[in-house]
């Protein structure tokens, strides 16, 4: 027996069994079956398989229904969409930049105004080493390069942490003004002459 090559018809055979074909399709398949032994055989196999599908146990509908929980509407979590969350973060970040940037500009401009109004020296002069912090004659004499303004301690800076707690608002203002003029970072990388401090080990 020749194998049928009409795959369309072959694929429609299960639908013929389940009466799922339109009238036109059914007539086409039946006309083909009248002449094709291979498809006739296939259809017989499918009939056998379909009719054999009866050995499944009978299901007790009521016992199944008893196990079904009553309907509860699933309320979706009120989570905002990701886009809204990203937008919120962007707004918060922008606000933070504005507040911090604006605040620091304000503080800087206030500091320079107060300094000028008091006739103080520019910020760099703060970095000068006061007399009290100069090394004693017993200590090794540092090279002049050590006494660079950028690495010298500020007279107020050392006492700042200790004094800050005890200051009133009025006392804090001049201190903060001084801090505004204080260069926290050196203008350039310090030279490696700091090794002179190793005199401690002598």
């Amino acid at each position: 027996m020749n194998k049928c090559i009409d795959s369309d018809i072959q694929e429609m055979l299960p639908d013929l069994l389940h009466r799922a074909l339109s009238d036109g399709e059914r007539q086409r398949v039946e006309a083909h079956l009248a002449t094709c032994e291979s498809c006739k055989e296939d259809l017989e196999v499918l009939r056998t398989v379909k009719s054999a599908a009866v050995f499944a146990p009978a299901i007790d509908v009521n016992s199944v229904v008893r196990q079904i929980p009553p309907y509860r509407k699933i309320v979706p979590a009120t989570e905002r969409p990701a886009r809204t969350r990203v937008a919120s973060w962007l707004v918060a970040a922008s606000l933070a930049v504005v507040v911090l940037g604006g605040g620091s500009i304000l503080l800087q401009s206030n500091g320079s105004l107060v300094s000028r109004s008091r006739g103080q020296q520019p910020a760099l002069t703060i970095a000068k080493v006061p007399e009290a912090t100069k090394p004693s004659p017993l200590e090794p004499v540092p090279s002049p390069r050590i006494v660079q303004p950028t690495i010298a301690p500020h007279p107020h800076a050392l006492a700042l942490a200790a004094e800050a707690d005890g200051l009133s608002d009025g006392g804090l203002v001049p201190l903060m003004n001084d801090m505004d003029g204080f260069d926290a970072l050196p203008a350039s990388e310090p030279d490696p002459v700091i090794s002179v401090d190793s005199g401690d080990s002598l």
Binding site: V49, I68, Y71
Partner: protein, 185 residues
């Protein structure tokens, strides 16, 4: 819409689902009655031996618990087959794990088939069962869904998590194997 035995038009699955959501428990009974035997047949055809009733029950419990996620894109029966198939796979995985720890005695295996023989009354059914046993699990699922349940390839692809093309190939290979097996018997 087909008429019911009482002469009224048969309600669609979606209408029954909406009635059940509105608190009508009889709608659940109608839905279970409509689909439970198809689920049992699918399980049996897919090679389930024991606990088919329990499997069908679990399928409905799970389906009704998540009915809000059923949008009607496929038929309810296709959706139920999908749930049942997942449960069958879970069961088989669990059985494999338990077999790894507790080896099954040969006598247990024989008695299992003995019970099944009691269910299979006719010789033709036994032959068909054997021919289906010769198929790979996926071929078997595709073939029985197509032949015994009358699902389209699109629906079968949805149930087995594959493509229509792959379902077609599985079907053609399966019918070839079954035909040869039944000829040789």
């Amino acid at each position: 819409m087909n008429p019911s035995p009482e002469g009224r038009p048969e309600e669609t699955d979606m209408e029954l689902i909406n009635r059940w959501r509105a608190g009508d428990g009889r709608a659940a009974t109608r839905l279970v009655g409509r689909h439970s035997q198809a689920l049992a047949r699918f399980a049996a055809s897919a090679g389930e031996r024991d606990g088919i009733e329990e499997l069908v029950q679990d399928t409905f419990v799970r389906a009704f618990a998540s009915l809000d996620s059923f949008r009607g894109a496929s038929t309810l029966r296709t959706w139920l087959f999908t749930i049942e198939r997942r449960l069958m796979l879970d069961r088989r995985r669990a059985e494999r794990r338990s077999r790894e720890t507790v080896p099954v005695e040969e006598s247990d295996h024989v008695s299992e088939y003995g019970a099944l023989d009691g269910l299979i009354a006719e010789e033709a059914q036994e032959r068909v069962r054997k021919s289906l046993d010769a198929l790979s699990p996926t071929q078997r699922e595709v073939f029985t869904l197509r032949v015994q349940q009358g699902l389209s390839y699109k629906e079968i692809a949805e149930v087995v998590g594959s493509t229509e093309g792959a379902a077609r190939v599985h079907y053609h290979n399966a019918i070839k194997t079954v035909k040869e097996f039944l000829k040789d018997e």
